[in-house]
């Protein structure tokens, strides 16, 4: 069953097109992971996160200057190449300035029926963000209602919240298995699982997760799990990289990334006011560094994950030119190391030279093993 995720990952566009044909529903491209998908699901839409393809491309040069991160260019390239031509709409909830360019170039050059920008608070820690964001979530809901010409009822919202929460709970359960001495799944598999939940119909995805959860207790990896690693960083779904890391004597047992745990870690907590529950969920989730002000609230969360999953080292995977992460990493690295988690920092492009990376990862694993000896 677990292979299903990789299959979805590879065939995501075919999947979305088929979903559209079969359901007659609308597919909405989501930019970054701060879009309140509960609303989209409540409106029976398919949220599909805009991601890159990790292939070389030459089409974004006129649109986004080369000093911005490779991810924002790779993602735009997918649009310019027509791979997302099934989208009915696009939504961005305020995140970093790099990726906002992808959204803006998309709006200019790839018009869709519906495009919406949510000015989501950037300082998620201020208490005033809550009432403000509630209004913005409500505005977004109204815009969706206007677009579809159908009201979103409280029952719809409940359904949206429950569908999202169920998926989040199941992903947490799968991640729970990674705490075992011998995790029954690889980091690469976990990555496929988490990232596909960002563009596959949530219920369908949850059903497969449930089936996989039944299989996992019996499942054993055909190799020793080796050194337990954590992956920390910016957007990264570079499967080839995870595969390489896990082929040289290690297993990625936990991540703190938006393609992974940051996306699904917490639930919307129903409190009577459904929109507030949704709004708060996005303010309370493990933050992207772009929103983590004024304190570095994220650091403790990263360390807790490392401890809970008994990671012996962390690879800080940093998207080249990503200012928010670059603005966290030296202090995060220090913080982890002071707390006994050795780190390896790597800078990622849309495509990465695996050979030179392998050498670095192997050396890193050696130092971890070396420490074990003494």
């Amino acid at each position: 069953m677990i292979e299903k995720f990789k299959e979805w990952y590879i065939n995501r566009h075919t999947y979305a097109k088929q979903w559209k044909e079969q359901t007659g529903g609308k597919v909405i491209g989501t930019f970054c992971t701060y879009v309140p998908e509960e609303i989209l699901v409540a409106a029976k839409m398919l949220p599909a996160r805009i991601l890159g393809s990790h292939e070389p491309q030459d089409v974004t040069e006129p649109h986004i200057f080369g000093m911005f991160c490779p991810f924002c260019r790779d993602a735009l390239a997918q649009g310019l190449k027509g791979r997302f031509n099934y989208l009915d709409g696009v939504v961005l909830a305020h995140s970093c300035i790099h990726f906002r360019q992808t959204f803006n170039s998309w709006r200019i050059h790839l018009p869709v029926e519906f495009s919406y920008y949510i000015p989501m608070p950037n300082t998620v820690q201020t208490p005033h963000a809550r009432s403000y964001h509630r209004v913005e979530v409500e505005n977004f809901k109204k815009a969706i209602e206007e677009y579809t010409g159908r009201p979103i009822t409280e029952q719809d919202l409940d359904r949206g919240i429950e569908i999202l929460n169920r998926n989040r709970r199941l992903l947490r359960k799968v991640y729970e298995c990674r705490k075992l001495d011998n995790p029954p799944l690889t980091g690469e598999e976990a990555m496929y699982m988490a990232v596909t939940s960002q563009f596959i119909d949530k219920e369908e995805h949850s059903n497969v997760l449930e089936a996989v959860l039944k299989e996992l207790p019996e499942r054993k990896l055909p190799r020793d799990s080796g050194i337990r690693l954590m992956a920390v960083g910016s957007e990264n779904d570079d499967a080839e990289f995870f595969k390489m890391v896990e082929s040289v004597g290690s297993t990625v047992v936990i991540d703190e990334q938006c393609a992974g745990s940051r996306y699904f870690w917490n639930e919307s907590v129903p409190n009577g006011d459904r929109l507030a529950a949704i709004a708060n969920r996005y303010l309370d989730r493990p933050p992207c560094p772009v929103k983590d002000y004024p304190a570095h609230s994220r650091f403790q969360h990263v360390l807790n994950l490392a401890k809970d999953y008994r990671a012996q080292g962390a690879i800080i995977m940093q998207e080249k030119f990503c200012d928010p992460h670059e603005g966290d990493n030296p202090r995060l690295k220090k913080f982890l190391e002071e707390n006994g988690i050795p780190t390896l920092s790597l800078e990622f492009d849309s495509t990465n030279p695996l050979g030179p990376f392998r050498i670095r990862v192997e050396a890193f694993l050696e130092t971890i093993r070396g420490e074990e000896l003494f």
Binding site: D58, T60, D349, T351, N352, P353, G355, P356, R358
Partner: protein, 255 residues
Amino acid sequence: MIKAGIDVGAKTIKVVLMEDGKIRAKAKVLSGFDQEESAKEALEQALKEAGLSREAIGSIVTTGNGRKAISYASGDVTEPRAAALGAVFLYPSARTVIDVGAEEARAIKCDPSGKVLDFAVNEKCAAGSGAFTEAMARALEVPLEELGPLSLRSTQTIPMNAQCTVFAESEVISLIHSKTQKADIARAVHDGLSSRVVAMVRRVGLDPELVLIGGVAHNPGFVESFKRTVGIDDVRTAEEPEFVSAIGAALAVGK
């Protein structure tokens, strides 16, 4: 009157002597440390070939990165202008000129008179110029001039993942160690370069009436990759691509 054009490039210096709209002689020497001295040497070679004396020259116009370094020049023109004038002289229908040199690549959009309308330069990164193929040829341990023909023998496309020259070199070495065919690596090198060049060309807009000039246009591996990347089969390559800018410089007098 003989008009001389000198393209003082990063790697080589090209001289062209023209008379009444015809090329009388050409010469090329390595730039060396003293560009002015090397330019003189190239000029003398060209004069010798044409059987002319220095006095026969009416004007000397320079272009290229060392164009200001030549004290005996009567004037100088910018690289985009020289490239456009030269390209339009040789190929009157050319509207986009793509000049890939040792150190820089540029794309120029021009009108029928060779006037530059817009241009883009890839200046910050060796991975978008001839220097990239040189570094990769070194890593592959093949002479630079064999890199192109070698890549044409490639049977499969493999991705070149490294985005910068330094990482690309170690990636090539990794590929060699993993027993990847040298021909396939060579093709990946050219695909990587042409992808960067095409990205730059897109900034000025891709016009099918394009012509490739500059020394790297000699490399059949690059030309093949370039055609594949832009999706145009009929890409015109200047016959002696490295001399086009020198021709343009010579012609700049009176324009």
